[in-house]
Amino acid sequence: MALNDEITALSPFAFWKLNDAPAPPSVYGTYGTGASEAGGRTGTYTSSGEYGHPSLDISGTDTCIKALSGSYVNLATSPLGIQELCLNSFSVFFLFKTDAAGWPSANFFYAGTGATTGYRVRTQTSGEIEFDVGHNTTPAIALTTGAGLNDDMPHSGLFVFDATDNSCTIYLDGVEASYATDQAGVGSRAAFTAIPPQLGADFGGWFQKPALFASALTASDAATLHAAALGPVSTGVSSLPMTLTTDKSVAASTLPMRMCGQSYTAASSLPMQLESADPTHFTADSATWHLAVELGGTDIISGLLGPVKIEHQEDSSGTCSLSFLPAAGSIDPEAYENLSLQVSFLELDSSGVEQGRVQRYTGKVEAASYDPDNGVVTISATTDLQGRLENLDRAVIADMIGGEWSEHVFDDTADGYQYALDRLSTLTSEMHIDNYGRFQVVPWAAKGTADVELTDSGRFNDTLSLQRVQRRDLVTRFEANLDFRFVRLRHREIKVHWVSQLGFCHYLDNNWKLASKDMIRSAADGTAWTRITDISWSEVPVAGTYCTPPRIWVGNAEAFALGASWTAARRWAQTVTEEKQLILVATDLEETAGEQLLAEDYGIEATYDATDYEQMQDFTASPTGSAYSSNTGDWMLDAVTAEADGRTAMEAAQSCLLAKGRAEILGRARRNLLTFTPVYRPDITLAHTVRVNTPYLVAKGKVKRIVETLDPYTGRQDMELGVALSRHGGSGLAVDDPLDPVATPDAPAEEASSRLYTLGYHLGSTTTSPADSDAWDGYVINVGTNGVLYDAAGEVYSERFVLAMPEIEDAARDAAAVQQAQTYEVVVPEDELTMSA
């Protein structure tokens, strides 16, 4: 908030915003004895106003008040009570800007006079600031140093008296000042009304925003008020280490900055060095250069012997080796190990003045050796790609590299480096530590427009060499066989009908023992099937006259039934294996190289214990989430929701395998390597695409390898570049298929089996009854009345009710396999390569 708002928010007792525009009621004070002062204002004083100049320009003539020696500003006497403030806790705030010419003995703020009463803030000729409450001529209540405040710069002052413990606190520029206290005068304080409150009597400086508060403000208030007026409490200057790299060289940059503290500055300059390679230097016919070699932060160039050799290569640590004469003293090769090593290429003019530099290597010493005969230390350094990744958190590595990963494809216990390699293997990219020591992941694909074009003027003769990949090293077809085994929970329902095919009249005619409902119910609930519905009965009629000729039926047979129907269900678990074959084919490459197959096998088993499912008897419907399959006639639910090894994990593994296979194919196809020696260029990195344009060979590809040997003692610069060229040599008609996982297959069709089980009656003891059979199901009963068989000499059956529920057929119960195959076409990039005689 603006200062006026901050002050207002603290509910001031009186607040003179001063020099409000546009109009009175004026809040200006009057000078007591002097004429109006240039920069001050003369006018009648009034009660405290609500007006304020929004800006804070304490040096301006329209925003504040200046009181010269012999002058002071009378503030309003109304609201009353200003002089009485000191009887309780109170605070005084104002901004001031003092002339540089020392302190007078003068009052900043004064509400009282005489020897014993009131309160004031004033300066001493000794340079101290004094805050008196209960003013008297004995030593002041609080006294602090004003050293440095008469610096012609704006400052804030907050002076607080806390009546609860008679303590005084002084805050200068928002921070509590150290001060000496003497509370002897406190007890004598009283309001003194003879003179209105004054500002700046004899002070000779500028004032602004005086405010009085009828409470003891806090340190936080002091900081807030100061910050609103003059910026945050000073914390000194901070520096920010920066490294910027660009393609342009500039001498210096300016950075608009705001310094927090006691003064504002418009802008500061920040010395920066922008590194770039200057084409006019490295393409010149004659150029002077040098190296800067820092070992453990110490420049060793003066002791360097022989050339410095630097090598960067895709997917490898960068290396650097050199020899130097160490400083005199004891030698311990181990002391050099693990030291940082930086090598920069310096572009000099012909006078040896540095024009620019490019860092070509950043690493650490891996091994050091000492030749005592010659006094030479030899070091070899590495960018330690493996070491930097080994112990990194996997989440960090995943962010750095991207790609895909599955525990079903890769080793879950691998270290960070292997984890990084695994993720990288699903990308058509390489990783390395660049010349600035930064981790980089760079796509293999050559850019449409090369970063660097080299003709014969930019390379040395007899250095061009093309090494083509061997056919047997290519992969044109990648086959991933992935078996996904899981448990399929099945639920079959069957309707059972015990049919009363003879009818009630036949019963009346022939008589047999009716079947009790209890018996039927007991039979229905006594099988491996679970009855999931109530039994629907074919009831025995109530008492009455029925049939033709009519017969009288006495009824009272509710406990019995002529027929019944219900639904039963059975649950079991079936092991299913989806055998997926994912085939990636680079058809263009296969046209020329033939089929070069790489096959890998993987298996995932979704963990699930089906015991509880199969033993469950207490259910009344199909399982939640199951779906009816017309192929099998059953409800089915695949137990594949486990996070680690369920279907989602399996599909992620598929996606990973597809990406990995594609990367394998493309990676092999780019093993063609073009090597040559260009005129040394310090701007080339592994991220660049280079096009070589010579009379007999034109090629464009991504830089795969850089070996640079720089000898500042002969001036010789050697650079060998290896450029990867991806080629298929085919018709170029292939189109990338989306690498989507294979869709979930339907359950295989099974031979239909009946979902209706009907059973009837077998009546014995009739003249036509066939022989009893153990194979019968249904109600087996003998015809007779009251225990007297109708034809005792005929076939008399063993009376029984047999419910022979069907078994689940083997095809539905045994482990099943489903084969799927999906082919994906993959495009191999064809980098530019033309050769002619």
Binding site: S286, T288, W289, D349, T455, G458, N461, G715, R716
Partner: protein, 178 residues
């Protein structure tokens, strides 16, 4: 009037006239330069040593007295005042010459104008630091300043000889600017 000979001074040691005799001085500018040609035949030169050039002077004398250099410390660096001039030419009469030069008497730089293929000595009108302003000469196609180098160098004696038939001592030193 005493004949004045050009002297060779190695630190405080002045090689006497009697040892100079028939003196031969060869100058070679050493630099870390590799010259090659690129594939289209363009000349390609790369210079190390931060562009620095160092002077190698091979000095041989043949006279009736040996030069007295046996006590020379080959590990120390000496201020060597060389007896052979170098020259710097320019189309302009204002020429800047190296600061590492001898001065005084015979060894003060001398200015010449090239007139009709010949050298005509001219005045040195102004010397500001290393910048020499020569007096202009009518018809001059160019100007040059000749000076005697004075370098800080390591001095390494080479094998010396005695030719008893000619009664002469042959000696040689390599003066390598540090």
């Amino acid at each position: 009037m005493t004949a004045q000979f050009l002297t060779l001074e190695i630190g405080a040691l002045v090689i006497p006239d009697s040892a100079m005799g028939r003196l031969r001085v060869d100058y070679e500018d050493l630099e870390a330069r590799t010259d090659r040609r690129v594939a289209d035949g363009t000349f390609n030169s790369r210079v190390g040593w931060a562009g620095a050039r160092k002077l190698l002077a091979t000095i041989a004398g043949d006279s009736w007295a040996p030069p007295g250099l046996d006590d020379l410390d080959i590990d120390s660096s000496y201020t060597v005042k060389l007896p052979k001039q170098r020259s710097k030419s320019s189309a302009s009469n204002i020429i800047t010459i190296p600061a590492a030069r001898r001065s005084g008497g015979l060894y003060d730089p001398v200015g010449f104008a090239v007139v009709d293929g010949g050298l005509v000595e001219t005045t040195v009108d102004d010397v500001t630091g290393d910048v020499y302003t020569l007096g202009t000469v009518a018809g001059a196609s160019g100007y040059r300043v000749e000076y005697f180098p004075q370098i800080t160098a390591k001095v390494r004696p080479q094998p010396s000889t005695l030719d008893s038939e000619r009664r002469s001592h042959g000696w040689q030193i390599l003066v390598q600017e540090v």
